[in-house]
């Protein structure tokens, strides 16, 4: 027993005392991602998108001649774990920039001390709330209104539905989107007649959908990601609502396929062009998508590309920022990110500036549907 205790104590002391490993010729990027927990689907794609981007950039000599090294820490979709991971990457790994996943609370919790360390944060999530923290953060998430407007436009142009119900989860991004959905509806001649919330792990939403139907809605505007979209589709069918349309937020293609198999034409979703590559016409956008898919599809032939594409884009913007700054130092990278010229990415076009730390300023979204075994543009 004393030997066991000694070994345990030695292991702990070694882990506490282990110093940072220096590699002057590499460019270290830290990434806090929720590889387990509610953000796992999106954040695993984010991690893998970063990895293929690093591979592509390293083939061309890395960033300013330095090989890219990505340090990934699983935050388990929990802010406390994110804080520990960020601290580790800051003090032990000595990363030079962060490019983190979609766990907003984790990124918010770390934003204050990352700002004090004067390192930029590229984020899959929304920006932290405090202005001084926003100065160091750059979001690659589309503004929530971009996911609302195409859905309303579609309903206005292509259907007779003028009354909708909002079905939303209480995550920060979904709440922002829900607020905008209420606000923007009138601009499209649409009335929001019901608002129902759900939790990401709810196994049944028939009560909420029943209420939306009872309020006279012809479409459910689903705000939130994950398997709940499939649950909503199944509930619509189980309730026998054979005219109800379900319009989903942007999500992983596998979710769209499952929900599409349940509702057919009545399931529509918000989609970036990279999810519908066959619909792309020759031009810079197609070139950007093809450049990404060359690496992504070779490694992950059966996986949806949307979230990986955003991570890829974040790395490409980072490489451009380093070129502009001619440095990888924190403050220089922050300032240079604001000066990167308009960048056509695989997911969207990014226009960062001093005023815009949310890079997607042009709406990239189309409305898609599942037909003939694949995701296609809804005509």
């Amino acid at each position: 027993m004393p030997k066991f205790r000694l070994a345990l104590a030695a292991a702990m002391a070694a882990s506490m005392l282990s110093g940072p490993v220096r590699a002057e010729d590499s460019f270290k990027i830290g990434s806090s991602v929720g590889l387990t927990g509610y953000a796992a689907v999106v954040d695993r794609a984010w991690r893998d998108g970063m990895a293929v981007a690093a591979e592509a950039l390293n083939e061309k000599g890395g960033i300013l001649g330095r090989k890219i090294e990505i340090i990934t820490e699983d935050n388990r979709s929990q802010p406390q774990d994110a804080v520990v991971g960020y601290r580790k990457m800051l003090s032990s790994d000595e990363v030079q920039i962060f490019d983190s996943g979609c766990v907003s609370a984790g990124n918010f919790a770390a934003a204050a001390f990352v700002m004090r360390a004067e390192l930029p944060m590229y984020l899959c999530s929304i920006l932290p709330k405090r202005e001084e923290e926003q100065a160091w953060a750059f979001s690659f998430l589309p503004p929530p209104r971009f996911e609302v407007e195409p859905r309303y436009q579609y309903l206005k142009d292509k259907t007779d539905v003028r009354k909708v119900g909002l079905l939303y989860d209480p995550t920060p991004y979904a709440l922002l989107m829900k607020g905008l959905a209420e606000e923007l509806a009138a601009n499209f001649g649409i009335e929001v007649v019901a608002q129902e919330s759900y939790k990401a792990d709810d196994a049944d939403m028939s009560v909420q959908i029943g209420r939306i139907n009872a309020a006279g809605a012809g479409a459910v505007i689903k705000i939130g990601q994950g398997g709940s979209t499939v649950t909503a589709a199944k509930n619509i069918r189980q309730l026998g609502l054979d005219k109800m349309i379900l319009m989903s937020s942007n999500d992983d293609g596998s979710i769209f396929r499952q929900a599409g198999e349940v509702l057919g034409d009545r399931f529509l979703f918000v989609s970036p062009p990279v999810q519908l590559p066959k619909e792309l016409k020759p031009g810079p956008r197609k070139e950007a998508v093809d450049a990404f898919l060359k690496y992504w599809s070779a490694k992950y032939p059966d996986r949806d590309a949307a979230n990986g594409a955003r991570a890829w884009d974040s790395m490409m913007v980072m490489a451009k920022a380093a070129e502009v700054a001619n440095s990888v130092e924190g403050e220089a990278m922050r300032d240079a990110t604001e000066k990167v010229p308009s960048h056509q990415g695989a997911y969207a076009t990014y226009n960062f500036s001093k005023e815009h730390h949310v890079g997607i300023t042009e709406n990239p979204f189309l409305i898609g549907k599942f037909a003939g075994g694949e995701l296609v543009l809804a005509q």
Partner: protein, 316 residues
């Protein structure tokens, strides 16, 4: 003279803190969380270990402490210390109001009722967005300060957390050795026998529940000041599971068990980080291994020394 069994854990905690301070902010953060959980688990130990009752709802009082401190400091400009004390009072009153009817239940029923309490407060922290800001969370919570001096660095805060954790254990130990503490031990042993001795069982249980809530509230407040941000996820089921792991691993019903458990459960995953996706498997395997070979918790191992010593004396 202070016995070595008391001095050794104090010295070990100080040495560990020293190592942490020399190792950088990563180790400091891990230890900071460990000491916050020490306070939380010391309170839980009071109710579960000393009194023999079950509570899955202490995270509710941590949430009251955390959100109370965040709101009072970030929105109303209160100092961290007054905010911490006021939220402890609020948590104590809440525990009194909730505990009075709930503690009439026993065993699994009490466990389920307290679990429901935790879930209710968790849901409130998500849904009452005008107060808690829901999943957006509260940011800009100032660091701890003492007598007007702000503990601006995590290193300074770690030292403060160590002192507070040791103070919490000291208070808990003093209460345990008091007449009230002995009454709790009697209740834990047999409620019928305790009643026969003239102990007011309902009153003692209620006081123990309130004390545990005060500790949980303080831990919640300290979390908010240490991180500078809180959101509902912090006070979810994970907190309950983690605190139970700490309590049972360290040794439920022992003085130093909560601290030992909190430190091990906080440090172990970090020591296993290199295993990446295998980290959780290795971590839980080690926890199971420890619980098999030290079913009374790591703090209970000290009794092996005592037994070994007495055996040697007998042989001599």
């Amino acid at each position: 003279m202070i016995p070595w069994r008391t001095l050794l854990p104090i010295a070990a905690a100080i040495v560990l803190t020293g190592i942490g301070l020399l190792s950088g902010s990563y180790a400091v953060t891990v230890l900071g969380f460990a000491f916050i959980y020490t306070i939380f688990c010391t309170g839980l130990n009071f109710f579960m270990g000393y009194t023999g009752q079950a509570s899955f709802g202490q995270s509710a009082f941590a949430a009251i402490g955390g959100y109370g401190s965040a709101i009072l400091c970030a929105d109303y400009g209160w100092g961290p210390l007054p905010a911490l004390i006021v939220t402890m009072v609020i948590s104590g009153i809440a525990a009194l109001l909730v505990g009075y009817p709930t503690l009439r239940l026993r065993g699994h029923y009490l466990a389920m009722a307290t679990f429901a309490l935790g879930l209710i407060v968790y849901e409130i922290s998500i849904e009452w967005t005008s107060l808690t800001q829901g999943y957006m969370g509260y940011s800009g919570v100032p660091p701890l300060s003492l007598l007007g001096y702000e503990l601006g660095t995590v290193e300074q805060q770690l030292v403060a957390l160590l002192v507070l954790a040791l103070f919490g254990i000291f208070i808990s130990n003093r209460l345990r050795q008091s007449r009230f503490g002995r009454a709790l031990a009697a209740i834990a042993g047999s409620e019928a026998a305790a009643r026969a001795l003239g102990i007011d069982i309902a009153r003692c249980k209620l006081i123990a529940f309130v004390i545990a809530a005060l500790y949980a509230s303080a831990a919640g407040s300290l979390f908010a000041h240490f991180v500078g941000f809180i959101s509902p996820e912090v006070f979810g089921v994970t907190m309950v599971v983690q605190s139970f792991a700490m309590l049972y691993l360290g040794g439920i019903g022992t003085t130093w068990g909560p601290m030992i458990g909190a430190i091990i459960v906080s440090i172990l995953p970090e020591a296993l980080r290199g295993l990446q996706e295998m980290q959780d498997i290795a971590y839980t395997a080690i926890l199971i291994f420890i619980l098999i070979f030290a079913p009374r918790g790591l703090a209970g191992l000290s009794s092996l020394f005592a037994r070994g010593k007495s055996r040697k004396l007998e042989e001599a």
